[in-house]
């Protein structure tokens, strides 16, 4: 059997699938491409003028970009954590969608990498992070660890997905002796990437808001809400627009798991809020900045209450079986969870951690238009990548795209 030739067919076939689509598909792709163009334009501007075109300053030196990065690490981690019920309990309905989770993870990690890229002052020096020509500051730098685990995670998921799809395309079963260990490895690795990302903040004694032992558990809990929220919507879309059969039971089960995750997330947040406000040390000021404002600085306050409201309402919607099983309330819940966690992680983690700064100064950060455009561009890249990958994966999973049989004969002829 000529494997390289089959792989080439797999690739060219995939390209052909990507290039075929209805008007809705092309509208979506065009919209994404336009957004990417806007992002690239904004990024070029940022490179020319410097990061002064963002609203970050010495007082708040990490903000929107790094917040998005953190949120997306969570999405990437949680998407794969769906593998736990699928494989540990061998629960069939979810097992089918695991591959979607892995694809989501790939798209999310790509966006993570892009958000780091747009945040650094010298992207032309990122080779300093590469072994051999650079100097990765291990084991002491948590960002160095993050670079390692995130790249490893990307590689792992890319390998799993490519292998699985390539086998399916050839009409074969994956070799479980290779496949299962890889999938099982991806579970602790998924927890690992989000833990290391949490430690990136957690380890900074200079920032009391982050220097809390439950930060990593909070990260995992909130990620287990936001990641599946994306998948739930996707699964319903696939069910609507393709022959993909996804059982209601799978959707309901995931929603139920999300309710528990959200319960833990809210509990951990509550524990943090209690500790800060009851003990009332000087460190409470970051929580005050977040929830009440300090000395009239309150730009972030409404967002934080919206986030809390979103999370609580979504928790209730997913907890009650009736609303969990109703498609309308289910999707509202997904949207609320996504928004809640996005605000909590994106703005609610990074900005209050930096405000007031280490010498007590309050600089009210709000993203600049450049930051918003660049971020939109990065999200568009991620969505585009995810769309294309799902576009290819769906017919393969449905058995509509095969190269094995025709290729088999062809290969034989060539060999003869």
């Amino acid at each position: 059997m000529n494997l390289p030739a089959q792989f080439l067919r797999f690739v060219t076939g995939s390209v052909r699938i990507v290039l075929r689509g209805n008007a809705l598909y092309w509208t979506w792709i065009s919209a994404l491409l336009v957004t990417i163009a806007v992002g690239v334009f904004a990024y070029v501007h940022q490179m020319q003028t410097g990061l002064i075109s963002t609203s970050m300053r010495d007082q708040v030196s990490w903000a929107f970009y790094i917040g998005n990065f953190t949120f997306l690490v969570g999405v990437a981690a949680a998407a794969v954590l769906l593998v736990i019920p699928a494989y540990v309990y061998n629960w069939k309905p979810i097992k089918e969608v695991v591959i979607l989770g892995e694809l989501l993870a790939i798209a999310a990690i790509t966006m993570c990498a892009l958000f780091v890229l747009v945040d650094v002052g010298h992207p032309d020096r990122l080779q300093h992070l590469m072994p051999g020509i650079g100097k990765l500051n291990l084991p002491s730098s948590l960002l160095a660890w993050d670079v390692v685990v995130l790249n490893g995670y990307l590689l792992l998921n890319f390998t799993i997905v490519t292998y699985l799809l390539f086998m399916l395309v050839r009409g074969k079963h994956p070799n479980y002796a290779i496949f299962t260990p890889l999938v099982l490895l991806s579970i602790p690795w998924a927890i690992g990437i989000h833990t290391v990302t949490a430690f990136l903040y957690n380890g900074l004694a200079a920032r009391p808001f982050w220097n809390s032992a439950i930060l990593a558990p909070r990260f995992i809990a909130s990620a287990l809400c936001s990641g599946p929220a994306v998948l739930l919507v996707l699964m319903q879309l696939l069910r609507r627009f393709t022959r993909f059969e996804i059982q209601d039971a799978a959707i309901w089960k995931i929603a139920e798991l999300m309710a528990y995750a959200m319960a833990v997330n809210l509990f951990l947040l509550g524990a943090e809020v209690f500790k800060e406000f009851y003990s009332g040390t000087e460190h409470v000021i970051h929580m005050q900045y977040m929830f009440t404002g300090v000395n009239g600085h309150s730009a972030i306050v409404p967002f934080m209450w919206i986030a809390v409201a979103c999370s609580i309402i979504a928790f209730l919607l997913f907890l009650v079986p009736k609303t969990r099983k109703n498609p309308i309330t289910l999707n509202i819940g997904c949207l609320l969870i996504y928004s809640g966690v996005y605000i909590e992680k994106g703005m609610g983690l990074v900005i209050p951690g930096m405000t007031p700064d280490t010498l007590g100064e309050i600089y009210e950060y709000q993203p600049s238009s450049t930051e918003l455009m660049v971020a939109a561009g990065v999200f568009a890249v991620g969505f585009l990548l995810f769309t294309l990958m799902v576009k290819v994966a769906t017919p393969i999973m449905l058995g509509e795209f095969r190269v094995a049989d025709e290729e088999h004969g062809h290969a034989k002829t060539a060999a003869a």
Partner: protein
Amino acid sequence: MNAPETTRRDLLCTLAGCAAAAVAGGCSDFTHTEFFRSHFKELSEDELTAIREKIEAECKTKYDKDVTVSNTPAREGVQFAYALDISRCVGCRRCVYACVAENNQSRDPVVQWIRVLEMDKEKGIDFEHANPYYDAETVPRPGHFYLPVACQHCADPACVKSCPVGATWKEPDGIVVIDYDWCIGCRCCMSACPYGARRFNWKDPSLPADQVNANMHILGNRPRPKGVVEKCTWCVQRVRDGRYPACVEVCPVGARKFGNLLDPSSEIRYVLDKKRVFVLKNELATHPRFYYFYGL
């Protein structure tokens, strides 16, 4: 440079060159040598000299001024430390501007390594109520005292720990330095620093040609590009030649003291011995080499 090294670099260049060039985007100061430069501590004498001469030539072009970029290393048997008498500081900010002039800090945007905090006497050292923006007719203002803060040159610096590429490190004489040519601008160190001592070049720093201090050190006050972090180096270009930092010499009330911790007859040892000193944020165990004391 030996032959295998050249081969390795050329190979890496061909492999990674294209990708890197794509990533480089708007960065104009991008060359092959810079891309494959080794870490500062692994540079050969020749490479270092080449880099220093390049900076000198760039300054000549840009400022039409003959500057000297030295690479004076740390001296044996020297551990620097600093002491500041907060009972004397009147908050006049002469140190801030002497530092700017000596260290070629950007005038626009304004970059200042020293931040003088005005504090309420009745609150003590309380950052929450500190004011760096006081603009009084005269200082000291009644009921206030002043706390100048810059890099504390910690014995266990959180910034050094956090840097993913080892672009900032502690020198053998205790000065925490940054290689501006190696820094990727991720600002981990700024998040990690408990003293708000680090400054990022959010845009191209500007320095009027007639105000350039031509006495430069490669790890100190030589011009910085945009997109990298900088901070106080205790005037590495001066102190490694035996001189006091600029802020020490300019302070009109003589509140600033500097010297060698290992020299029993040094001013700094006298302060540690005879005065009651404290360090900022002692509880974080960064062990600053910057001591505050009450001289009165």
